[in-house]
């Protein structure tokens, strides 16, 4: 392509809204007025101060569009000549993004930066965003969520508790002692007894402080302390906002993948979303360990056996013969591992009583 300034830049001229194209030449005079002329007749087709024309961003080597507001558009594949003409005159800024995109050795640095950033976002930025989201969530949101979950479980799998009234009240008394020592206080947690049905022996916490204990779990042992160890674990989940965190985390990861979805293709996007589902399980294991430690601390501060939850896990192990090891796909750490860890931590708490002394 000719790029001699006097000869001008060759291209195609189309009047505003018209499909017809005519060959044309773009020039710029000393006063900085850009003009398009018909090369054969020499007639002027459009002219405007260079600062008033709109130049499309350079992307690869697709043709450039130079728009003259109401007159029409000049197109040319000669990107370099356009850059020289306008950037040389200092009228338009050179495209920073396009410079970065050029196939040069430094692109390797961009690749390295992308890999490092993907890791950093997942490892550091996402957790920060999750914390912010948890902090700004108004309390009414977890309340609504929890009421709705309990209502739908009551309507489907749960039945009213058949646990003896004396047993219920002795567990409730112990639970009140734990509540009194927890950050949300006496009104911050409510204990519900239910017959678990297909859910079987189980206890779980909802984000507003609702803790549900199934008859099947309570009937596993006569020892209220062991049950309280489990309830302490559930209080730990509430205090650490685990359900909200996991929810925000999953939403954040999916949103991030969607952002680059167009750049990676829909097939790869689907596989990535599936893959992060597996990674979420490892976060769930971490959350369980944290809640176990909370139980140990809380029981100790209540003047009860800090290893009560460890004893409960031992019961589980002996009853269900659960000696498997945890792996990549587990939502909870393996029982033997939890027994060992909670026993160890209970020892630690008892021998270094300053850490969480009863207040």
């Amino acid at each position: 392509m000719a790029s001699d300034p006097a000869a001008g830049i060759a291209g195609t001229w189309r009047r505003k809204d018209k499909a017809r194209g005519n060959s044309a030449v773009l020039r710029m005079d000393r006063d900085g007025v850009a003009s398009v002329t018909d090369p054969e007749s020499g007639d002027s087709l459009a002219a405007a101060p260079a600062g008033r024309v709109a130049i499309s961003d350079r992307v690869g080597s697709i043709p450039r569009r130079i728009e003259f507001a109401d007159a029409g558009t000049f197109e040319t594949p000669d990107n370099d000549a356009i850059d020289r003409l306008f950037y040389g005159a200092g009228i338009h800024r050179r495209g920073f993004v396009h410079e970065l995109e050029r196939f040069r050795p430094r692109l390797v640095l961009v690749v390295v930066a992308v890999v490092a950033l993907c890791f950093a976002v997942y490892r550091y930025a996402l957790p920060v965003l999750v914390e912010v989201a948890v902090a700004v969530t108004p309390p009414v949101v977890p309340e609504l969520m929890s009421q709705s979950v309990l209502a739908s479980l009551d309507g489907s799998v749960f039945a009213p508790s058949e646990l003896a009234a004396e047993r219920q009240s002795s567990i409730s008394r112990g639970f009140d002692e734990l509540k009194a020592l927890s950050p949300r206080g006496l009104d911050g947690y409510t204990l519900h007894f239910r017959k678990g049905g297909i859910i079987g022996p189980n206890a779980f916490a909802l984000p507003d402080g609702t803790v549900v204990l199934t008859d099947e779990l309570a009937e596993m042992t006569d020892d209220d302390e062991m049950i309280l160890g489990v309830l302490g674990h559930e209080i730990g989940h509430v205090d650490l906002d685990h359900s909200l965190r996991q929810l925000y985390r999953a939403a954040g990861v999916t949103a991030l993948i969607m952002m680059i979805g167009g750049d990676i293709g829909s097939g790869t996007e689907d596989l990535l979303v599936q893959g992060t589902g597996l990674l979420a399980l490892s976060h769930s294991r971490t959350a369980e360990r944290e809640a176990d430690r909370k139980s140990v601390e809380l029981m100790y501060r209540a003047g009860k056996d800090p290893a009560a939850i460890a004893r409960f896990f031992e019961l589980l192990r002996d009853r269900l013969n659960d000696t498997g090891t945890s792996d990549f796909f587990s939502t909870h750490p393996a029982t033997p591992e939890r027994i060992e860890e909670t026993r160890r931590y209970a020892e630690e708490v008892m021998n270094a009583p300053d850490c969480c002394k009863p207040e």
Partner: protein, 383 residues
């Protein structure tokens, strides 16, 4: 190119002399070298800006692909402004987040929103198609899309329900509605585009994937049953769970299958089905695109043509995905360019009159360049 030349030779004698078709092939001039830079910088800036740049990234990507697609000496252009796309994305992401939270913790309300969303889909589809059409130009003239809610409801909701409800037997009917709606409502410079794929032609493309599906199902089930019988001892050992069994020399794996074993079994069964459906889907999609484009007439005088070789298309799509996965995404630009080149090379326009003359009379019509655009991700339907 040989295919096109051959097809051109085949097509010529069928036409009366006074009705000579001039074949104009589509070409794609993008290169992996150029696109790699655009792609990696897109991802870099998207991550650095926590997703905000993704709107700018989309515009650069689309401009690159449209700008490198040529027909009769002129290229297509993409004019969306990043801010429009950003707003569309914020709406969609916000909605998805709210919906997922609702579904997690308020299953009833979430379910209701889900049903409401179902009825919003046709609206999103029609607006998304309109947005895409209006930000696309060829020779300085924008496309427009005139499809309404009703048509999208029929083509996408009813059509989708029909496909699932009939186990795929009525899929060609849904394809007919879908193509008729998405391509048949396009306008170029106020001129209509008609797309009326005949049902029998669509069924002609349905047999092969349908047969593959049936045979695939039979083969997979026979193999699975065979495996289950052969390894029945191992399997029964895996799943015999006796809580009261004495703890002698039994290893834990024999008492209870580990979650890993169960997951591997589940995925082992699902993956063959996934591959089967992916292959059948690719063959069907390529076949119906051929039919639909061949029955598309622009302004009553120019015809589109599509000559995808179904096996080749499926091969490109699958090998692209594998190449992308095994290079941790780095070959994605190569894969995208490869697919775009292939799709352009099998697409052509058969013009009945001189195109230069024809375009001389074309101009922008109506208020196609409005500002109430709405880009909806996921509804970018290929044309």
């Amino acid at each position: 190119m040989d295919e096109i030349a051959a097809a051109e030779e085949a097509a010529k004698p069928a036409q009366p002399a006074s009705y000579r078709l001039k074949r104009e092939p589509f070409t794609f001039t993008g290169t992996t070298r150029e696109y790699f830079g655009i792609w990696i910088v897109n991802i870099l800036l998207t991550i650095l800006t926590l997703g905000i740049y993704s709107a700018w990234a989309k515009v650069r990507r689309q401009r690159y692909f449209y700008g490198n697609t040529w027909l009769a000496g002129a290229n297509f252009e993409y004019h969306a402004r990043p801010v429009q796309i950003l707003i569309g994305r914020i709406i969609v992401v916000g909605f998805l987040v709210a919906y997922n939270i609702a579904l997690q913790f308020l299953p009833l309300v979430g379910g209701l929103i889900g049903v409401a969303f179902l009825f919003l889909i046709p609206f999103f589809v029609s607006r998304g198609l309109r947005f895409n059409a209006r930000v696309t130009s060829y020779r300085n003239v924008r496309f427009d899309f005139t499809g309404k809610y009703g048509g999208a409801f029929l083509a996408y909701l009813l059509g989708g329900a029909l496909v699932y409800g009939s186990a795929g037997i009525l899929a060609p009917l849904a394809s007919q509605w879908m193509w008729n709606y998405s391509l048949g409502n396009l306008k170029y410079g106020g001129r209509p585009i008609k797309c009326e794929p005949r049902l029998e032609k669509l069924y002609g493309q349905w047999w092969l994937p349908a047969t593959i599906l049936v045979i695939g199902w039979i083969v997979i089930i026979v193999v699975l049953v065979g495996l289950a019988v052969t390894f029945s001892d191992t399997l029964s050992a895996l799943f015999s769970f006796e809580p009261d069994s004495p703890q002698e020399d039994y290893s834990s794996e024999q008492d209870m299958p580990s979650p890993t074993t169960i997951l591997i079994l589940i995925y082992g069964i699902l993956i063959p089905f996934f591959i089967l459906y992916a292959v059948a889907g690719l063959l069907y999609r390529a076949g119906t695109r051929n039919v639909a484009l061949k029955e598309t007439v622009i302004d009553g005088r120019h015809a589109l043509d599509s000559q995808i070789h179904r096996g080749r298309y499926a091969w490109i799509a699958i090998s692209n995905l594998l190449a992308t996965l095994f290079t941790l995404g780095l070959l994605r630009p190569w894969a995208a360019i490869r697919m775009a080149k292939y799709m352009a090379s099998v697409t052509a326009l058969d013009a009945t009159s001189s195109l230069e003359e024809y375009f001389g009379g074309i101009q922008q019509e109506g208020a196609a360049v409005g500002s109430e655009y709405m880009d909806v991700e996921g509804f970018d339907l290929g044309f």
